[in-house]
């Protein structure tokens, strides 16, 4: 099965609303990264997390290594938030290999 499972796979939001994306890990994740792939295909770094939480503007992310999950909360969604969100887990070691989820495709509508 998938080592990093993202949910939901797709999501449609009305502008101004809030939502949460989730990643569950079946590997022993030590750090987590969240990316946004914009419509041009670029991967934009959103968060790099050790266990704990981080906040940046309307985005907030949490990583619980004991319960093996991470969340990304989007507050007051805007049109420019549209794209595909990926989480990726690193299970430690010097090579720092990332295992990616399959992504959540977010559409924000006016």
């Amino acid at each position: 099965g998938d080592k990093v499972k993202q949910s939901p796979s797709a999501l449609s939001l009305q502008e101004g609303t809030n939502s949460a994306l989730r990643c569950n890990f079946s590997i022993a994740a030590t750090t987590v990264q969240w990316f946004l792939q914009n419509p041009r295909g670029s991967l934009i770094n959103l968060f790099y997390l050790v266990p704990g939480t981080k906040e940046n503007g309307r985005l907030k992310s949490a990583f619980d290594s004991k319960e093996s999950y991470s969340t990304l909360h989007i507050r007051d969604a805007q049109l420019e938030d549209s794209g595909t969100y990926f989480c990726a887990a690193d299970s430690g070691g010097s090579n720092a290999k990332l295992t990616f989820g399959k992504g959540t495709k977010l559409s924000v509508k006016s």
Partner: protein, 112 residues
């Protein structure tokens, strides 16, 4: 700001031909990575490197070779390209274990 560049950005190749994708980073990171992205699969790791002269197999290395001639440069080589290698390829760089990875803009490869 981290800087990872890739060339070419788009490539059309013929089946059986040799393809080389290049990546350059100015972050002075030790680790570099090659991933491919296909619909329904997310990003999957092909090869990675700890530093100049080193290459390691990732999760899907078959049909690919890699070369790391310097700290800054990491190439992905398809000796005999096949249509199944049509994909978008991303290069990334990162520091030592557990540090953030930064991605290049991607190369769209089509093998006819």
């Amino acid at each position: 700001e981290a800087a990872v560049t890739q060339s070419p950005r788009n490539k059309v190749a013929v089946t059986g031909g040799k393809v080389t994708l290049s990546c350059n980073q100015t972050n002075n990171h030790n680790n570099m990575y090659w991933y491919r992205q296909d619909t329904g699969h997310g990003l999957r790791l092909i090869h990675y490197s700890y530093g100049a002269g080193s290459t390691e197999k990732g999760d899907i290395p078959d049909g690919y070779k890699a070369s790391r001639p310097s700290q800054e440069n990491f190439s992905l080589i398809l000796e005999l390209a096949t249509p199944s290698q049509t994909s978008v390829y991303f290069c990334a760089s990162g520091g030592l274990g557990g540090q953030e990875q930064y991605f290049g803009p991607g190369t769209r490869l089509t093998v006819l």
